[in-house]
Amino acid sequence: MDPQAQILPGTLDLLILKAVSLGELHGYGVLLRIEQISGGALLIEQGALYPALYRLVRRGWLTARWGTSENNRKAKFYALTAKGRRQLQAEEQSWNRLAAAMGAALQARS
């Protein structure tokens, strides 16, 4: 397995938004999806998901509803709102800008 990288502070929100943008998920599902889309390369402390999820709900980027999971267990499902979608786009763009800038800076010769 590739060595896992600790996620930078502040990027958890972005990952969650991305994960949920691909479809409604409950908390554990978000974790799985992040693992999946990052190829297992990102290390996330599982419990930390939940404060982040509640924060995103409070800021109006996610909505939550109670439903039943695949194993017929009661679970809270999170979905992206329109506002959240806009936020995701904005954060993606700013992340890409940052990455490009860093990359250019680190590749500079002399």
Binding site: G27, Y28, Q46, G47, A48, P51, R73, K76
Partner: protein, 883 residues
Amino acid sequence: MRNRKHEEMKAELAAHVAERAKTLEERGMDAAEAQKRACIEFGSAEKYAEQSREAAGLAAIEHAAQDLRFGLRLLRKSPGFTVTAVLLLALGIGANAAIFSMVDWLLLRPLPVPEAGQLTYLAANNIHDGFDNGFSYPNFNDIRAQSKAVFSELAGVQPFQLAGIRSGGETTTFWANYVSGNFFSMLGLKPALGRFFSFTPAQEASAPAEVVLSYAYWQTHFGGRAEVIGQQVAVNNQPTTIVGVAPKGFGGILAVLDTQGYLPFTPDLAGEFGASGDFFHDRKDNAGLLVVGRRRPGISVAATQPALALASARIAGAYPLGAPWRGLVARKLTSEPPGAAGANRDPLPGVAALFLGLAGMVLLLACVNIANLLLARAGLRRREMAVRAALGAGRGRLLRQMLIESLLLAGLGGAGGLAVAAGACHALNLMPTGSDVPVVLNFAVSWHVFLYACAVAAATGVAVGLVPAWQASRVAPQAALQASGRAVTAARTRLRAGLVAAEIAGSMGLLIVAGLFVRSLERAQQVDLGFDVHAVVNLTLDFHAAGYAPARGIAVASALVERARALPAVTAASMASSEPMGSFTYGGRVTLPGRPAPQQAPEVEYNSVSGEYFATMGIGLLRGRAIADSDRAASAQVAVINQKMAAAYWPKGDAVGQTFLLDGDARRAIEVVGVAANSVVDNISDPAPYFYVPLAQRYYSPAILQLHLARGADPGAVLRAARSAVRAYAPELPVYDVQTMLQATHSLNGLLLFELGAMLAAIMGLLGLFMAVIGVYGVIAYAASQRTHEIGVRVALGASRGQILKLVLRQAVVVTAAGIVLGLGLGALLATGLSSLLFGVRPLDPVTFGGATLLLGAVALAASLVPARRAMRADPIAALRCE
């Protein structure tokens, strides 16, 4: 609901862990192993649950409730601290609320009429560049007619006149407003019963004799019965019909005075003022008519100026002698009685501000004390704070907790303060005003005052708690948990000592102000009044209220004076139209014959007296003769002047034999027949020029019957005898203000304000002293307790008990000295600020400053002695052992 959400959250997290465990199981781990692994991977469920709840915003309220409960428990566990702190706050907040309630009642209350903000009164800019707000009826009528553009209604009021009312039986005094017909419609009031006056301005001079009662008077004197409407009473001995009752809560146009009824302008109103002339046609502005009006909607006070200027120019142009105005101005009508605006600004707002400031300072001292106490406690709670921080409480949380505790304290103090204020208001309401003039003092804890107290309490809570909270939240858990209790930094003790020095300075300031006021009172009480205040008693008789025409009044007055002289234990008796520091004064413009016109001359006050006046009052006669009973209406016009007037008008040579004119009346030139010693007339300050004329020649009602008592006579018995004599001779004559001259000097014009000021200031001073004592005791005790270890070492090394005492006291002395020096500076500043309110005392009065220094120094040192002695007697072994 909260618990349900909490349960839901826990369920959600638990479900996550369960799913993870299942996944791991599917990957081959055994069930128990998978569960354990899932838990570890998840992290602390408690922590994340807590963080989730905070993120969801649910935590705040619960935290606050927790803090509140904890705070209450903490307060209960240290009752000494709690009681002290709450008491200090209650006193501080209570003093502020009480003073504010006085300010609220006297200055801030609007008149209880609709749209009171539109009400204005008019004043005329006279040629002396002052302002008069008393107009004559013809002038008022003309202004009323010519200013309709800016005023929807202009009414005239003769506020606060004494009438006599009789409804079967004895005539009693009746304080009335004489009003124009449109008075009530101008105010926009509806009668509580019956109707108001129904005549138009054109009919004012021949208005029917009707009276409108005030609501309170109707309740107390007519039993609140509906049958009074249409009932006939005699007002000033004229048959008058009661037509209505004014609404509840309305007490006339001068809010502080309790009007008992309203009368139309009557043709014999001129009799009220004694001066010759007809009220409705005499154009000279001496009728004291207040002109009050309602501005049209949207017109500001300034916007009335052009219309008023036009009216003023027209009227002054047409009647230059009757209306010698430079212009008319409009002013907002507040609950302050309209004073002559301009030079003689009413001092009430300034005095109110001063006392609010003093009360504020007392509260500040209380806050400093409590902050000090809280700082000490914060020091002791460092371990607790450290543990909380280690358990995950953020800095904000710690700060919030400490603030909630101090707000709790402030809340309790505020509640106590309202109780203190209510008690103080009750006591102030019962304050005697030295006169039967019905002043309405209804200081109470109104909702204004309640809100004010709440605001003050909240501000106090935050102010007091902020610094200790800040200090407490700045804790580094590691260091605090490891350190021993001796971790008080020098900086913290210096802060506390500094606070106490500031407190002592503040207390000094209050003591100095109190001392100055008390000495002013002393001086005022010792002023040589120029008359024999201890041997005179007074009865005020209202001839006009009995319906006497001037001739009858003069005759009855002489008869009564004769009967009074015949009473036992009376050595002299006389009648006078005014008494020193009383409610009635009369004046006129004095000119010398052949000199310029009266308009330019200053007004000089005078007293109309009968014979034996100077003997009765004990005023010395320096030259010539006194006014005698033989000076009758038809005799030559004479006067006795005082020294000041003699020096002002005839500085060279003898004033006796000279003549002067009063109000420019050349047909009644007055000859000076005597010069009397100066005496106090209006108030305590320097006597002004003054003169005395025979009552028979210038008759006024009411008049005061004054009796000089023989040595050892009982004033009460003499007054009772006099009253019976009056009642026997003239039963329809109302008698009031039956009192000794000494009581009369304690009136609102006399010593009452000095006494009130001294009392309030002294209370503040004592409160400040109390605060300073507690502060000094607290900080010295604390400092000494912190040095227990050090003291133990010193004693073990051979220091004597005396040396230990000196060691602890030295700190006290330094702090006290610093505070006193600062306090002297503060006191000097305050004293120069209120020098205008002092009487007979220099602002930087050495006795006051020295006395305050000694008092505070002694008290502070005494307060430090207790902890010092305790430290001195400490057991060195125990001291060394304790950390």
